[in-house]
Assembly symmetry: D2
Amino acid sequence: MPAREVPVPLRWSDMDAYGHVNNVQHLRLLEEARISAFRTWSGEATSDSPVRSGTIVARNEVEYLVPLKFQHEPVTVRLWISRHSGASFDLGYEVRGRAQDAPDDGLRADAEGWVVYARAESTVVLVDLDTGRPRRLTPAESEMFAALDGPPVELRRRARERAARG
Amino acid sequence: MPAREVPVPLRWSDMDAYGHVNNVQHLRLLEEARISAFRTWSGEATSDSPVRSGTIVARNEVEYLVPLKFQHEPVTVRLWISRHSGASFDLGYEVRGRAQDAPDDGLRADAEGWVVYARAESTVVLVDLDTGRPRRLTPAESEMFAALDGPPVELRRRARERAARG
Amino acid sequence: MPAREVPVPLRWSDMDAYGHVNNVQHLRLLEEARISAFRTWSGEATSDSPVRSGTIVARNEVEYLVPLKFQHEPVTVRLWISRHSGASFDLGYEVRGRAQDAPDDGLRADAEGWVVYARAESTVVLVDLDTGRPRRLTPAESEMFAALDGPPVELRRRARERAARG
Amino acid sequence: MPAREVPVPLRWSDMDAYGHVNNVQHLRLLEEARISAFRTWSGEATSDSPVRSGTIVARNEVEYLVPLKFQHEPVTVRLWISRHSGASFDLGYEVRGRAQDAPDDGLRADAEGWVVYARAESTVVLVDLDTGRPRRLTPAESEMFAALDGPPVELRRRARERAARG
């Protein structure tokens, strides 16, 4: 299973005036998970790892499924490579938590007790740190990414568009 | 042209360690613009305006076109209704600024001097504040939204998908 | 009167789960006011202005007097130099707003309609940008600061300590 | 020694454009530590614990001793009760980290390898959640706080004031 699971602690200040983790702060959680995952991938990879060189986030897409309330236990962000091409790659994410860690009762959990709060995808571009310009993946990076390959993110937007196309 | 233009002041703290307005903070700017626009729409509308009742952000999608550096002049967020159905609507956004307000030289501006830093779209669901459940647009709201109608957001993702489908 | 008044727009996200501008975010407002004021002082001053060189915040002290709720109108931060020595200076601040701009009724305002939400003080150290080390004020800076001189901040902590010493 | 030690994970976004944990974000770290500590104290205490009822931060004071850079290991916040009276109490804090966890070489550490990045103090007022008004500590709370008593925070401001008084 190529996805990685990164525990991300919430902060009380992630809540907004509605008492939920704010929709923008969800992206902050994804950022933390991504930086943590890149660090590990870097360690596992050769010295010309994408993580050693610069990366730019070119696109974020996130769907909120269940309101996330502040909890003392970290949430778990699952990450995987959902697409990679010569010069960029997509990261897929799921923000999940154990139903038992949530302050709310009655959250619908899967058979293993997980609640999926959000699904998301980022497009990341690799940048040459010397020139500041986009650069292509090296063969070693392409190989590493192939090993981390996962499916497209199950965004509702995609299902809706498929349905609309008939 | 039904789009609204909302000036949104940056904060120095919107910058991250790379010295750019952080990709997550872009969504904070959109949130500010949305709250400001809702307030005006509310004032222009009848008392059963969607803005008086609760709203939930169900989805965010943002594409970053040009790195945005901290500037003392506000950026301008253009907003419009890019889709509306019975129970939800999409907001289209463009984050723009005058080339002359940017600390960087050489930004490619359009004929009127604007640089587009990001394009984005949010799906907003209307919620009944008493029950906490999604509710349908009232006829008055549908009418108001029709008057604010604009085109789909020109996301590169969409152009890419159209090209892939041939 | 040497104090400057800087309008600082609030953001909806400055509120925490209690629905007030969070106590930490108050310091964010002070940061914005300080950066804005430094910019003006710089423009008014000679080219060896403290603002052109680096500054480090060495100390923050803030007292919260009245809970600040989100309002669409900016608050006003008054700033002045409350102390300056050879290598550092203190900034005094008051976070104020017009009672009429607050969503709450019944706030006690002064004769001119102002509510004081917080008082604060920062100690700022001047740093040589080349060496990264603290440096002394130049004669031109000392002169400029003398012109911006104001009284010590009326912190309740100080009144309490004076009372305790008898 | 009644002080508690709370590990607080940093976020990459705690850094500002200077590449250090921003001075305002330090207070965010203290907030996290305080909420975590209150939770434990609550668990150890009787059901009329201060933590079950509302608290308001009335004052923050923080001194920055060593620039804190982003590190993957959590920092440690030491907290204790540095003063308590009938209706409020002061929390003392030290933000510390292991020299080996810092990206910088050459940080001066104490004999046990700790670097102290900041010292701080908050005044917290207890509030009756029903009326919203300040309330006095119960005898059980006073007893609990006595057990958590620690010395005044060694703020440089205090040493300076003592010296000035001769």
